[in-house]
Amino acid sequence: MDMTKQEVEKVAKLARLELTDIEKAAFTKQLSEILTHVETLKQYDTAGVEPTATVLGQVNVFRPDDVRPSLSVERAVANAPESADGFFVVPKIIEDRQPL
């Protein structure tokens, strides 16, 4: 399985990773080699085999929806790269629109 540089760029964008040209070249080669190894799974007949997502065979776990103690606002934002008045600060998301 050969991955192209264009595919690497597309996947990087999906993963929200900015890559350097050196990284793109390295990943194109390395991911192709890894995927070639992964292709060996084709030899195993999995027709009708149930997929395993978890080994425990658990069902949903429920609890009462009660109010419980939780982190204070100060502690919740203490690790934020930027915060103000107990809020997380991010770049502007919604563009200004001209009034109709």
Binding site: L17, L56, L71, P91
Partner: protein
């Protein structure tokens, strides 16, 4: 006898008997760490001041009497992907270089309640992705048996700290062998419990269906002792199992393996196995037989599929789990970005190292439209086949015995440029995570170059007692645990 040379359980007995104080313990380990840490580099963060305060508070509260919480006064090292309230937890990543968790992982809360002493946070491959600690943003740890060799990974700092007597015992995490492989490379005991046996709450997630916390210790008794202190159901982790926790130390009473059927899977002794490892492991199997075990050849036919299956599923889960590192709520944020998309892209470019990026890329690819069924769906189905191999084997035998790694510890840089070769070296450990079963790695000898070699015992789900019993019988009948590295 020097305090740092005692096993965890020996130290516990001395502490409980009032023969040593917490302050003396901390002082002894401070000296030991001062002697060897510059060579071994096991720790990312040493909790020097806080552990002195913890110890003196503990001694003051105990004046004149002794309670018997198992981990009270016990100096432990914790892998730096397990959250410790108020103590920096980095995952060996620039992304979390300044992250101070506002809460404890459940295993830490349990240890704290018992009065343990946190010596520090140990090195790992970034986000537990790797087999050598070479992927740490803080530089690699070194193997105490040979400082030119890797300690293994990802829990390499924990294993090196235990081997170098820089802690009484440590916690690691194991997603594809990250406890057992470094334990084997460093000549100590590492136990990966059954999936669900130990709470994952507060373990920074890598691959949630595979991750499990477990003990890395100087001997099998310590492994049983520390497992008992951290195991059990946790309402905060809905994948933790509501199964009673037995007294694991009681499993160590029998010193023989009578009526125990032990399987040797032929697939684990194929080409590529280092001759020293094969010779040593085969000799250990003879010893298990001499102890009364009934040795039987078995088959795990889908062993060859394990690496490919694992690297699809683990990276897929990782790509989802690591999406949270976006520079908003905690962790690194890239400077001078013009909009939100650029903030995400640049933060993740700066914060993650090459192996983490590689795995996020692979995981994103196998989950992407058009490839999901061919890669992710296929790997999930093959995972079922691998589980069925183990289920079938455990119809016939009580335990499976294998090597832990194809080779002893390798030199720095030997595999760093070839990710696929590094992945393939996980061949003997990862099927255990895919099947969710427990396994222990313990020393069984040395290579001609003087590097430790590990023996892996694999058990049925929630039968850690059988693992510990067999490992203990073997340990008692051999002398390996008395050999200690000379650090130079």
């Amino acid at each position: 006898m020097s305090i740092h040379k005692l096993s965890l359980y020996e130290l516990h007995k001395k502490f409980t008997a009032g023969e040593v104080t917490a302050t003396e313990i901390v002082r002894a380990y401070g000296l030991r760490i001062g002697q060897v840490e510059s060579k071994v580099k096991a720790y990312i963060t040493q909790a020097k001041d806080s552990v002195v305060a913890q110890a003196s508070a503990l001694d003051a509260s105990l004046k004149g009497w002794r309670r018997t919480s198992p981990m009270m006064g016990m100096p432990l090292a914790i892998k730096d992907n397990i959250c410790t309230e108020g103590v920096r937890t980095t995952c060996a990543s620039q992304m979390l270089g300044n992250f101070v968790p506002p809460y404890d992982a459940t295993v830490i809360a349990k240890l704290r309640t018992q009065g343990y002493l946190l010596l520090g946070k140990t090195n790992l491959d970034e986000f537990a992705m790797g087999s050598s600690t070479e992927n740490s943003a803080f530089g690699p740890s070194r193997n105490p048996w040979n400082l030119q060799c890797v300690p293994g990974g990802s829990s390499g700092g924990s294993a090196a700290a235990v081997a170098a007597d820089e802690c009484a015992a440590a916690l690691g995490s194991d997603t594809g062998g990250s406890i057992r492989q470094p334990a084997a490379f460093c000549g100590v005991v590492g136990l990966k419990p059954t999936y669900g046996r130990v709470s994952r709450y507060g373990l920074i997630a890598f691959a949630s269906s595979l991750d499990q916390i477990g003990p890395i210790t100087k001997d099998v008794t310590d492994s049983a002792f520390l497992l008992g202190a951290i195991a059990g159901h946790d309402p905060l982790d809905s994948t933790s199992a509501d199964v009673p926790v037995p007294d694991y130390l009681k499993a160590l009473k029998k010193k023989d393996l009578k009526r125990l059927k032990i399987g040797v899977p032929v697939e684990f002794f194929a080409e590529g196995l280092d001759p020293d490892v094969e010779l040593t492991v085969r000799a250990a199997i003879q010893e298990l037989k001499a102890l009364g075990g009934e040795i039987k050849e078995i088959q795990l036919p889908r062993t060859d599929a394990a690496v490919a299956t694992y690297y699809v599923l683990a990276t897929a889960e990782a790509s989802s789990n690591l999406a949270r590192y976006d520079g908003v709520k905690f962790g690194l944020r890239a400077k001078e970005t013009k909009d939100l998309l650029e903030l995400y892209m640049k933060t993740r470019q700066e914060g993650f190292g090459p192996e983490v990026k590689r795995r996020i890329m692979l995981g994103t690819y196998v989950l992407s439209a058009g490839y999901y069924d061919a890669y992710y769906g296929k790997a999930q189905a093959v995972r079922t086949l691998i589980r069925q191999d183990f289920e079938a084997a455990f119809q016939d035998v009580d335990l499976i015995v294998t090597p832990v790694t194809p080779t002893p510890a390798f030199k720095f840089g030997a595999k760093a440029d070839d990710p696929l070769q590094m992945y393939l070296s996980d061949i003997f450990t990862i099927s255990v995570n895919l099947a969710g079963v427990p396994a222990i790695s313990l020393p069984c000898g040395f290579s001609r170059a003087g590097l430790p070699i590990g023996l892996q015992l694999i058990g049925r789900p929630f039968e850690e007692e059988t693992l510990l019993r067999a490992a203990y019988a073997y340990e008692q009948s051999t002398q390996w645990k008395t050999k200690k590295p000379v650090i130079r």
